[in-house]
Symmetry: D2
Subunit: 417 residues, 4 copies
Amino acid sequence: MVASAVPAKSAGNRTLSQQFDAVRSYSNRLCEPLEVEDYGIQPMPDASPPKWHLAHTTWFFETFLLKPYLPGYAPLNARYEYLFNSYYNGVGAQFDRLRRGTLSRPTVAEVRHYRTHVDAAMLELLQSSADLELAVEVRSRTVLGLHHEQQHQELLLTDLKYAFGHNPLYPVYMPAAGVDLEPGAQASGEQPLCFDGGIYPLGRATDGCRAEHFDGFCFDNEGPRHEVLLRPYALAPRLVSNSDFLDFIDDGGYRRPELWLANAWTRVRQECWQSPLYWREVDGAWHEYRLSGLAPLLPDAPVLHLSYYEADAYARWARARLPTEAEWEVAAGTSPLLEQAGAWQWTQSSYGPYPGYQPLPGTLGEYNGKFMSEQLVLRGGSRFSPDGHIRNSYRNFFYPPDRWQLTGLRLAYDRPA
Amino acid sequence: MVASAVPAKSAGNRTLSQQFDAVRSYSNRLCEPLEVEDYGIQPMPDASPPKWHLAHTTWFFETFLLKPYLPGYAPLNARYEYLFNSYYNGVGAQFDRLRRGTLSRPTVAEVRHYRTHVDAAMLELLQSSADLELAVEVRSRTVLGLHHEQQHQELLLTDLKYAFGHNPLYPVYMPAAGVDLEPGAQASGEQPLCFDGGIYPLGRATDGCRAEHFDGFCFDNEGPRHEVLLRPYALAPRLVSNSDFLDFIDDGGYRRPELWLANAWTRVRQECWQSPLYWREVDGAWHEYRLSGLAPLLPDAPVLHLSYYEADAYARWARARLPTEAEWEVAAGTSPLLEQAGAWQWTQSSYGPYPGYQPLPGTLGEYNGKFMSEQLVLRGGSRFSPDGHIRNSYRNFFYPPDRWQLTGLRLAYDRPA
Amino acid sequence: MVASAVPAKSAGNRTLSQQFDAVRSYSNRLCEPLEVEDYGIQPMPDASPPKWHLAHTTWFFETFLLKPYLPGYAPLNARYEYLFNSYYNGVGAQFDRLRRGTLSRPTVAEVRHYRTHVDAAMLELLQSSADLELAVEVRSRTVLGLHHEQQHQELLLTDLKYAFGHNPLYPVYMPAAGVDLEPGAQASGEQPLCFDGGIYPLGRATDGCRAEHFDGFCFDNEGPRHEVLLRPYALAPRLVSNSDFLDFIDDGGYRRPELWLANAWTRVRQECWQSPLYWREVDGAWHEYRLSGLAPLLPDAPVLHLSYYEADAYARWARARLPTEAEWEVAAGTSPLLEQAGAWQWTQSSYGPYPGYQPLPGTLGEYNGKFMSEQLVLRGGSRFSPDGHIRNSYRNFFYPPDRWQLTGLRLAYDRPA
Amino acid sequence: MVASAVPAKSAGNRTLSQQFDAVRSYSNRLCEPLEVEDYGIQPMPDASPPKWHLAHTTWFFETFLLKPYLPGYAPLNARYEYLFNSYYNGVGAQFDRLRRGTLSRPTVAEVRHYRTHVDAAMLELLQSSADLELAVEVRSRTVLGLHHEQQHQELLLTDLKYAFGHNPLYPVYMPAAGVDLEPGAQASGEQPLCFDGGIYPLGRATDGCRAEHFDGFCFDNEGPRHEVLLRPYALAPRLVSNSDFLDFIDDGGYRRPELWLANAWTRVRQECWQSPLYWREVDGAWHEYRLSGLAPLLPDAPVLHLSYYEADAYARWARARLPTEAEWEVAAGTSPLLEQAGAWQWTQSSYGPYPGYQPLPGTLGEYNGKFMSEQLVLRGGSRFSPDGHIRNSYRNFFYPPDRWQLTGLRLAYDRPA
């Protein structure tokens, strides 16, 4: 988590207002190393400008809290409802997401002013909710909004990394000196972690996502809690490393169709994939762009920025497989190291609803449920994930070709029953 | 199954040579109503020309049986290896699948000659295999090739239907008089079929796909047999009908984003979906194109040619859900009616490997395994499915937006534990 | 002209009915070498199926003559008005031109029947027009329709060549034995043809396109006749040959951006152009697909199937330039050899209206005028051009990247004043 | 010209160093109203970021003057050669022009530093060139570089206008109060300007583009001077106004295919054109975005931001035509008002080489010549054109669908001979 680089006080015992301030401030702090120019660029459709992240997370509070619940609230700018709506059809039309990088206005200063404006109103709202039932709704929506903002804190970093990693000047976000933002060498344990077959509980109780308290929150897609049946399996004790992946490349991995899914192979050829996203050959030696700049590849660090396609092909080459999300979660329940690896780990599980899943009522129900098709679950959390977003039950999800998140893999194996 | 329209003698007690002849002949019989012009067209990328189906299924036998196993076999035309390879990278390069409809040559007569040439050699091979071990391999590859051809028999009809259904003249493949090729009104039972939770076996034992006997065959993806844990559930006793689906449309189904997955809604707007694929409004009344021609919609027939997106949206609108493939298979084990509905039924299950799945060795391993991403499983079989391809364990798979197969849906419901 | 291969009696002294029959029959004769399968394919957006050419030319007579002028005429099929309308917005909507290759129906036999049906009605119309003014209109529209059909006769061959030339089997349309359809070795004259500067007349008197007589007809875009001012210039006595063009290739022509227009260079890289459209390297030797099959390149034949981009790049490499259309026409006025070269010759002149140009009134005005943007004029006529379509004033036009016509080039040079 | 808004001292009697300083400073002055955020955006492929214009014009001097002619010159950053190369293949590879808006670095401050660095070196070079022949080359390249920069000054404004005009906040670049940057009401003269037929000279003597003096410069494409033959014609005394164009719209102009070229009509439907680029309907009244903001349409101002397609359709509707570039230039020779209209005027002339045209030698020859295909000539100059870029012989050129320049039209008419 980046928080290790930019220290934040412990979350415990905070009031919600204090928590609100902590999360909102952290977004600003993440942007401190940026130049004004960095706030506006969208280097590819999925990578939104930092400015947009700052504004959209603010829009969330304005739309779902201030407008419905704070009497007399005056929006700073009526057009922002349209400009910073991401995908909520229930709210109304949305500015074309492919064109977010074309909006030089509002400026960074104006977006900061928007944040200040909304923050002030939010603090007023949080301190004034007299009606008890309303107060519960206000508090739980606020908690959701804060976790939403934390998700965008991670995206802000991955999106920025895409922009910097594709700029021939390879700008530095934060020098490697001192704390490195990105995962380094892993411990060298090689003994597989073995698990028995049987029936296990999976997921969280469904009320976490309506919680009034910041800590202990979970998203609706993490529940309901239910039982799954697992067969005996083993997990590798560490993530596949850069050095491991280099063996795959050197063995012709990117040139052997038999290792790839059909869609994967099509993509490999269309986009001429020959290495992970940020690997660059400089004077015959592999380098990697990280937020600390372009530097020689760290052989013992986990390989990052793999698509599912690449993770799956590597696993096939290694005569192993990817774990299911259930295998991962059950293992993490007893082996906390799984979530300390510093990278999201592709699973073979499609992102879908757990049995009995119900999205939140109303427009907020668009948060998670409508994306439950064609994506795969990732588990574990990355070094860019904020405090609290690394937990056993957390389900991240991306499309099979996506490479711009901090995504790696952990191998899984079948065991005899 | 079309076989009800074009009778075929029972499969039991046939020698493999007889079975070979029966399946091969049936492909030809399916084409009898065609004009020469119909054999060559590819009306969209996924819908191959009938001529291509006839040639590719022949190529399969030539490539995987005659070339490796029949001493002295002389290919009819060396270029066919390239022209009629679908997607087997292990065999070599493939003619661009988007351009299959541009090949006026070989002609239909030449393709028939190719079939005759290969058929004769195959019969020779089947009768001459002296070496026992080789004979086993030859027989099991032949069985696979026949089931492969049967799959293409179904595709030949769906692809032809796409061409005819998009031709403003709406040609008739086979008049409705007598036997109708496509599913008609369903029985009116309304009582849900209820199932208990518990651990159930799923799938077939893994050796079916290497069987030397045509009957009892299964594809590698239908196994290995393994256990799954189900919660109590219910299934609708019949498929959603045209009349049901009309209610969805009349209730604004295609205009209400809250009913649709995000990717689905994007597609609905991009392609202006307003009804199932072959519905046409004629003088203010809904009609449907079927292989018997354009005719008024049959209200009690199952709704066909839905994408997964539409099936999922309908289920959400109906406050139900799609079944998982395990729920479907377990139910079919006790309720054989499930597979008599006449249409493939979308499940919510992503198409992936069962635990312990191993593709066939060598190039034939490209048959099923490499497509295990981004598709969804369909169960049940359709009226176009050949004899023997309607079985409990059969896993069909298509992409969520695909609409050109005979695809409908059966609703599922949670039951209290 | 193909007519040399498929002899036709002289056009002189024919009645219009006889002329009608001659042109219509010739279309059928051109198709005699085809298999039924060949009639339906559209190998790229611009190359329509032979069947479509046969039907559309028939549609022209039905739409512009029979429906308005033959009392009681009953169309064979009401949908044909839509199916075979090419681009006449004044007539109504048009079937998607990109999907012409997906129409297996009407069949070839049905299209022949359509031709017979329309031909009979046309002969009735031509023999019955009592009203004098109407008769003039009927006759001049018929003449236009015949020249329209002749244009499609040439397109039928070029479109077929595209299909055959991109089929890995390289089918033969007509064996080279006897008359070769395509241009062979040119006479070896090397002396440039020199012309003085001055004012010259260009184009035809404007009434040719409304003529009642087949001979002497011209299209509206060939006039009005007007004066142009030319500077002294010279033209090469023969077209650039395959051998010449090979020198360009061997000199790195396709790899040197300084030889190419900006748009041309983009195209060269996007489509990996490395030779003219139908050149194929077989066992290290250049071959060329012609309608007589794939055969070794004829060094002395004119280079064919060049885009304007390639013609322009070659001219730059040769330190020459392309002629203007006025230079070409003036030269052809005194050097009839120019139009005997067997290939269309790119000029540097954009296709636009001559001063005072007026399109035909009404829907027929869509024939030529609306295409007067972004195309370039070609002059000379090719071996595929029908009798009478090779004339000094004839203006052919295509887009700069187009390569599928029989297009070559003749170099031009400035001369001192 | 914008210069009227941002006064600049007269160009006469300046030394080249002074002129260099004046042009370079003016680019900076044009950017004064910008926020830092505005410098980086590329709202569509053709509209480059202001920062890129500032850097690329600097790159021109560095590449074509400092590197070859200033001994010991040290580039500020070696990567800039690649980053800011627009299209000069002779210099080397170019950063993808579609991705110019993704480069947040170098920052605006760094680009300004780049400008300062190059400016200082340029002044040194201009003052030190001892060798006479070299001095001539240095001076004429410098003059070319300054006119190049002036072209980018105009583009900077049109590109910025595109960004602002497509931002829902409609930012103001410069308030309308005081001098309006964009053309206002035209004088109301209605009498056509009539011209006799005959032979006229066209274009400039060819040595202007190699001139050592800033004043009197012309681009290579403005010559060589040559004769043209014109027929009697007339030109409208003023440009088509917004009010005129509204009549076209109200008469169904955008819905009547018979008014449009074929390619134009395709575009109208694909992009749903219903009005000029920056017209917006607000509460039922037409408004127009100008750099002074969104305001009610000025009926008497010239209509702006038309594509050639729209200009051509309007002319057809008005039973007139567009002038040729020769007609325009000859008329401007006697009617200086033609170039004071404030908007570029589409002609019907394709952009091609004048007879005898030779591009500059070497890599600088890529400046104009390689774009001579598929574009049309515009004449007249706009209110955004810098001082000196409004002259009789100036040939601007854009593609027929382009709308983002200040493009309008002046009608032309044939006169009886």
